[in-house]
């Protein structure tokens, strides 16, 4: 599992990417999906996920769809129109960032082997 620091800064982008691909997802589903996709290397904690989801909702990037399951309510999150544009920007920024990181770290073999 990666350090909290690394995951924290990318959490929003991860959520946006998943919602863009899957359409709508609920909180627990997101944590499981990330765990599955990354072979358990990235574990999203509830403590980080829900604050992010709620703030995305407050910013109008995602909207919720509630489904009643017995006595409890399941809240599915999906991107709004504005959210889709936002997700696109964030994802291309992330792609660019990954490229830059590669240049930064692969350019210096010393770091890779350290």
């Amino acid at each position: 599992m990666y350090s909290n620091e690394l995951v924290r800064g990318t959490l929003k982008t991860i959520v946006l990417k998943l919602l863009k691909e899957e359409g709508k997802m609920y909180g627990y589903e997101i944590t499981q999906k990330v765990k599955e996709l990354t072979d358990g290397k990235i574990l999203i904690t509830e403590g980080a996920l829900y604050p992010t989801l709620h703030s995305l909702e407050a910013e109008g990037i995602v909207t919720i769809e509630t489904v009643h399951i017995g006595r409890r309510v399941r809240k599915y999150y999906k991107l709004t129109t504005e959210g889709r544009a936002n997700a696109k920007r964030k994802l291309s920024e992330m792609a660019d960032f990954l490229g830059t990181m590669r240049i930064l770290f692969e350019g210096d073999p010393g770091i890779l082997h350290a």
Partner: protein
């Protein structure tokens, strides 16, 4: 995969609430999430054990920590905007209040406007933002109530001070209102702060500080002119009346009678204890009407002196001591400075 009974779901929902999560959206999310986690367990361990184990995964700050983080993220953009407004209005209020107080003490013009602007900015911009930020930080309902109470108390204090300083009507009622809120606020604030070991000491010392400030405010606001002042006013007034009546009885001299009449008019126009006086004809007593009376007194005085000049025992009267005696009592509070200005203008 195990199934949760309705009772178990209700138990979890209630437990989430009792652990301090009051935001409904988050309550629902956490309930569903915890239920999903528990349902993943295949073993036969009792529900309670699995539930506690699931909660452990939420980390040290627990459910409430998630809520704090959520509220912080949601409110962050508002906080920075509000902070700017609070800093700006706080600066404006402090500058205009301090310079207003200085101008007021020095009797320079513009003091009242500064005090009004300062108090209004303080009460309607700075205080609400300041308390809103405090309010948002409170996660408990009790804390929110106390913040609101503190806000009302502080606003009442500012507004009643303004009304009192500018002699506007209603100040006394507002100070009574302030006292009531103040007496309610202090014990609640201290008791609530003491329950948390982190804020215990600051709550107690702040409580003492607030209490002493409030005590001074009440002491100053319910102050009446001291007994020595009212006594000396009464004795001056009595002296004037006896002087005038003795002058009146002594002579049938027309000039003297005119002079006495003019002086009498000033005395009758004297402001009563509660406010400004009025002239006999109902006109308010102000600088302008005083000037008219001053003119009458001076004219009567010149006439009196010239007519009495034949009498060798007569010592000519001058305007200044008369005016000083008359206005010393009559214009005690509000009009004293104004009348002095007119007396000075007269001398020039």
């Amino acid at each position: 995969m195990r199934n949760l009974t309705d009772e178990q779901i209700d138990f979890i929902a209630e437990d989430i609430r009792s652990r301090g999560v009051f935001t409904q959206g988050l309550q629902e999310n956490l309930l569903d999430h915890i239920c999903c986690c528990i349902e993943q367990h295949e073993d036969d361990r009792p529900f309670e054990e699995i539930y506690l184990q699931t909660l452990d995964a939420f980390g040290r700050s627990g459910l409430q920590g998630i809520q704090d983080e959520t509220l912080f993220l949601i409110n962050q953009p508002y906080f920075s905007k509000m902070k700017k407004i609070a800093y700006f209005s706080g600066t404006l209020a402090s500058i205009s209040l301090i310079s207003g107080a200085l101008f007021k003490v020095m009797h320079w013009p513009g003091a009242n406007i500064m005090l009004i602007v300062g108090t209004l900015t303080l009460t309607f911009l700075f205080l609400p933002y300041f308390f809103y930020m405090q309010f948002k930080e409170q996660t408990e309902k009790k804390g929110k109530i106390i913040s609101t109470l503190g806000m009302i108390t502080a606003a009442l204090l500012c507004i009643s001070a303004l009304f009192k300083i500018l002699h506007w009507p209603g100040a006394a009622a507002m100070i009574v209102g302030f006292t009531i809120f103040f007496v309610l606020f202090i014990p609640l604030y201290v008791i609530n702060g003491m329950r948390n070991p982190l804020t215990k000491i600051s709550a107690i010392s702040n409580g003492f500080l607030f209490a002493s400030i409030g005590g001074f405010v009440m002491l100053l606001s319910f102050q009446n002119p001291s007994k020595a002042v009212t006594d000396s006013l009464t004795s001056i007034q009595q002296k004037q009346e006896s002087l005038l009546s003795s002058m009146q009885s002594k002579t049938d001299n027309v000039a003297l009678a005119n002079f006495v009449l003019a002086c009498d008019k000033v005395m009758k126009a004297a402001p009563n204890a509660s406010g400004n006086g009025t002239l006999g004809n109902g006109d308010p007593l102000d600088g302008r009407s005083l000037q008219t009376i001053n003119d009458a007194i001076s004219a009567a005085l010149i006439q009196l002196n010239s007519e009495m000049s034949a009498d060798s025992t007569w010592k000519p009267l001058t305007f200044e001591p008369i005016a000083t005696t008359l206005y010393g009592s009559v214009k005690f509070q509000v009009l004293q400075l104004e009348s002095m200005a007119y007396v000075n203008a007269m001398d020039k």
